[in-house]
Symmetry: C2
Subunit: 234 residues, 2 copies
């Protein structure tokens, strides 16, 4: 019944959130002479949210938002050497090793024996392709789709391009907003595997989530069993 | 014989280079108190080239390179307000109106009656999708592929995904290096339509170009006629 299993990438196959929270922490320390850590964090989050419409997602966008925040918070008193430090954060983020989640590699290999696998992820094209290559898992995926928005229309387009019906399509991801609810709306299946520390930009109010009937797993290793149960129930 | 006509986007369908050269000029003026315009331009070009491996192509990458160059050239003496000015350049570039090349709209509409059309472009996913949408031409293209590298393998993969043979595939673009030579190597057809001011990163030595037998047009409006001649000759 399920033919294609698609995975989100960041915080579903490999760790991503810690890279942003560690860099945010370094950013707070860098500006600690000017403001309180909490104030700096709030202003950065505000700048990021405001800039999503201009920059989209990814490390380069985040870096431009850090620089913008640093200038605003210091009323232009920030030093060149401090901005250089922010550029160094960016290059370190871009080159950080790809750390797979526990059981991600074995689960992907096992699922690849029975299903066509896909990665569907938002973010920066250049950065995401580089992470897929460095993950060592690239060969298990028939397609890697990097998209700007994850809405029902996106999922329908991706499925149709691969010649799969939505009822044969299952998405696995850590975001209710991006990986689960739009797939259900498009007529597909989805398994929610929450990450330890969810990303602030992607939270969904409980009253919205409760209107949907989705499957949930505590770890990616539970996915093959859940799909088998789903097939047996139909 | 030709089934699919694929277009590069920047400087093939719409003007792009002037946006970068105008911004480079503003950048030179911004730093004119510190260095000579020529020196500033050369250092920026060096930084951009060095950063391609970290950042890839696009406006966000270019902006991060401008900031890095400004800090290095001023030995950190650059003011926060000057870096803020560079961020303003970036937002203006991202929001700049999409200016189609002369005859691009009419040619695309005409070709869409007889061929499957595609856009294949490098650059930043978010920015390129936004430009396709703002160009008003999006509906004429069956597929828009934004890729990190334009090599023979990329073209083979894109053609295969659309179920077209390379001998039925024709690419139109302003870069010999990215749009013409790799397509010929992959067994397809290509028409070179040079842009008024070629992009420094994409030049090909004459002795390399001379080894290839490619078609050339002075304007995009010549494309339908060239394809008809190509069909008649076979």
């Amino acid at each position: 019944m399920i033919k294609t299993v698609a995975f989100d990438a960041d915080d579903t196959l490999w760790h991503n959130e810690p890279l942003y929270s560690e860099t945010t922490e370094r950013f707070r320390r860098l500006l600690s002479a000017y403001h309180s850590p909490q104030w700096i964090g709030e202003r950065l989050y505000e700048t990021e949210t405001r800039n999503l419409q201009h920059y989209g997602y990814g490390i380069k966008s985040f870096t431009l938002s850090m620089i913008e925040t640093a200038i605003e918070l210091t009323e232009g008193r920030i030093k060149g050497s401090e901005i250089q430090e922010i550029l160094r954060f960016a290059k370190e983020m871009l080159q950080a090793p790809v750390r797979l989640l526990d059981h991600a590699a074995e689960t992907v290999k096992r699922l690849a024996e029975s299903y066509e696998l896909m990665i569907i992820t938002k973010g920066d094209l250049f950065d995401q392709e580089s992470k897929v290559a460095r993950s060592g898992l690239g060969d298990y995926f028939a397609a890697v789709e990097i998209v700007t928005e994850k809405d029902p229309q996106t999922y329908r387009a991706v499925a149709s391009k691969s010649g799969v019906e939505m009822r044969e399509f299952l998405m696995v991801g850590d975001s209710l907003k991006s990986d689960v609810l739009p797939v259900l709306e498009a007529g597909g299946h989805a398994i929610y595997v929450p990450y330890a520390t969810p990303w602030q930009h992607e939270t969904v109010p409980a009253e919205v989530a409760s209107r949907y009937d989705f499957m949930r797993a505590g770890s990616i290793r539970e996915i093959p069993g859940i799909i088998e149960e789903l097939a047996a129930a139909n």
